[in-house]
Symmetry: C2
Subunit: 349 residues, 2 copies
């Protein structure tokens, strides 16, 4: 066995005090020490005080791994998210963590970089770590991922998506409904020539759902997306700029461009302004997500308000309740409302 003074990795070892040390010094058994640690009401107040004092004196830290092994509880929750950049999901993770913290749980974070295969690997890693619950983004995960989830019996919630047809626990909004609302709004204003600069749909069911819903909703009006003004675009301002340039190269500008998210939309807006294309008179633009990014720009962007923070909080609450009360996680739809700004208007022919 390794020797204890190798424990502190790279550190000359001051061995951490254990319950045995506490017990010995306090003249009680380790069982009593454990009871004190776990706030058992069976311990006489006098004894408890004494044990606590010894713990403080010896700078005792409970050893989480040993605890987890003995109790098969880790008080750990995992999250696998596509990215922490762009602040798209960061707000959800932030509120998720805040809620866990209150309940004395710790968060393990893994980033998949929008790669579902990587996501599956991360998922397995987190489960090995003994997470008692998991937060995932969207409903699109590999079969292997869902199988692993199933096998492990770990409680999980998919946020940023809500699809009543799927049986996965969803705590989010319907990307489809929101995208449909955008179409209704534009068509209602009189738009007929509409293009879409969607996000990259590979491995991203939110982007895909937005795209599909736009197509379906347009079909209800006997319309379809203008092919030369429709493409998949990376979530970045310059990418949005380039996309507008490409649309112009491809042919006549449509009267409206639906963008996969606000970042793309703002790129399009900036490029339009640079080229002297009047928004919304000549071109209507819609974003998605209502990111901080667009909060104070002018003209005010028409977009969809996504309840990022609320999804994080509610997911945490649901997961904790599932763990502690044994409730199963019920899907819950959170409204994502259309915010009508100044980048959309009746087209002037």
């Amino acid at each position: 066995m390794k020797k204890w003074h190798e424990v502190g990795v790279g550190e000359v070892g001051k061995r951490q005090a254990t319950q045995v040390d506490i017990a010995r010094k306090a003249g009680v058994s380790t069982a009593t020490v454990s009871r004190v640690l776990n706030r058992s009401p069976l311990v006489k107040p006098q004894v408890r005080e004494h044990v606590l004092a010894v713990m403080a004196e010896l700078k005792y830290y409970p050893h989480a791994a040993a605890r987890a092994l003995a109790s098969s509880r880790t008080y750990t929750i995992g999250a696998v998210i596509p990215t922490l950049n762009n602040s798209i999901f960061a707000a959800s993770v932030n509120s998720f963590e805040a809620r866990l913290q209150l309940a004395n749980y710790t968060l393990l974070v893994a980033v998949s970089n929008y790669d579902l295969t990587v996501e599956e690997v991360q998922l397995k890693r987190l489960i090995e770590r003994g997470v008692e619950g998991l937060l995932l983004i969207g409903n699109a995960h590999t079969d292997g991922a869902y199988r692993t989830l199933e096998d492990s019996g770990v409680v999980y919630a998919n946020i940023w998506a809500y699809d009543r047809k799927l049986r996965h626990p969803n705590i989010g909004f319907s990307n489809r409904k929101a995208a449909s609302a955008i179409v209704d709004h534009l068509v209602g204003l009189g738009h007929r020539r509409i293009g879409m600069l969607a996000g990259i749909t590979a491995g991203n069911d939110r982007a895909r759902d937005r795209m599909i819903a736009v197509r379906e909703q347009l079909a209800k009006y006997k319309l379809q997306l203008v092919g030369e003004a429709t493409m998949e675009v990376e979530y970045a301002i310059p990418a949005g700029r380039r996309a507008l340039a490409k649309v112009l190269e491809n042919g006549k500008l449509p009267t409206a461009l639906i963008c996969g998210n606000d970042v793309i939309a703002i790129g399009v807006l900036f490029e339009a302004q640079r080229r002297g294309i009047r928004v919304p008179q000549q071109l209507s633009i819609t974003g998605f997500d209502n990111m901080p990014l667009i909060q104070d720009i002018s003209p005010r962007m028409t977009t969809v308000n996504v309840p990022a923070q609320e999804m994080g909080e509610r997911a945490a609450t649901a997961i904790l309740s599932a763990i502690e009360e044994g409730n199963s996680i019920r899907s819950r739809e959170i409204k994502a409302s259309l915010i009508i700004g100044e980048t959309t208007a009746t087209p002037r022919h």
Copy 2:
């Protein structure tokens, strides 16, 4: 003891296979199973294959807690950050995690909400969890936090700060130098009446350093901040707007406003534009951080480019090397360069 079928919390228990199960089924000892798991070269290839097959068949997952207990290695790194919102630190955490992932380490994240007392609590929690390394933001931490770090012997790195006078391992840039460079730039342009809209300095040494350095550097030119145009402001666009309004109420507009970060700066810029104050002719504005937010706005913001991603990567590399090779973490300065944009110019009196 709890019964095994209670393990899957809220789940009817299919008990996870253990090494004993694998060993029995494969007709070997648990030591061999362990060796296979840990890629020991001592196992005969034939035997290894067989054991691996059995593991797959039984869907074996190593039990991380048991492993940690037996080997006193957790392969876990912690990070305590002020917030995940605003994407200020998110980029660093993102690249930090990516690097850890490659080395098969897992990241525990805790958010302190800019509260150093909360930070200390989080720190202790993470250490209990057995993290082998820690990522912190800035050099300002409670004495208790530093003492805990010391006692635990856990390797750590402070990013987003670089101060050669402090003995803490810093992987970051000098907020002071960068702030001084802003002053040099403005004074060089001919500004004499300069105000500062700093971030909230309580519990935030980066904000504090920027403020202090501005004052000190101005002093070198026998100048000082215009009192009525100097205040602490929350990191939010509307807060920046309100700050400019307040400066105007307080008295005469200075010729330049140094902002604590880009978010504040953009609020000031927008408000100036709304009020018809010409930037930079009537008012020069400087930001800080070079956030994605300002990448494509016009006029281009004068700001400081902060190597957020690089700090995350380098910190991960340093921490991993400290853990695995036993090197101590050496402080490292990463350049934060002044980006001169179009929001600063010679003042027109």
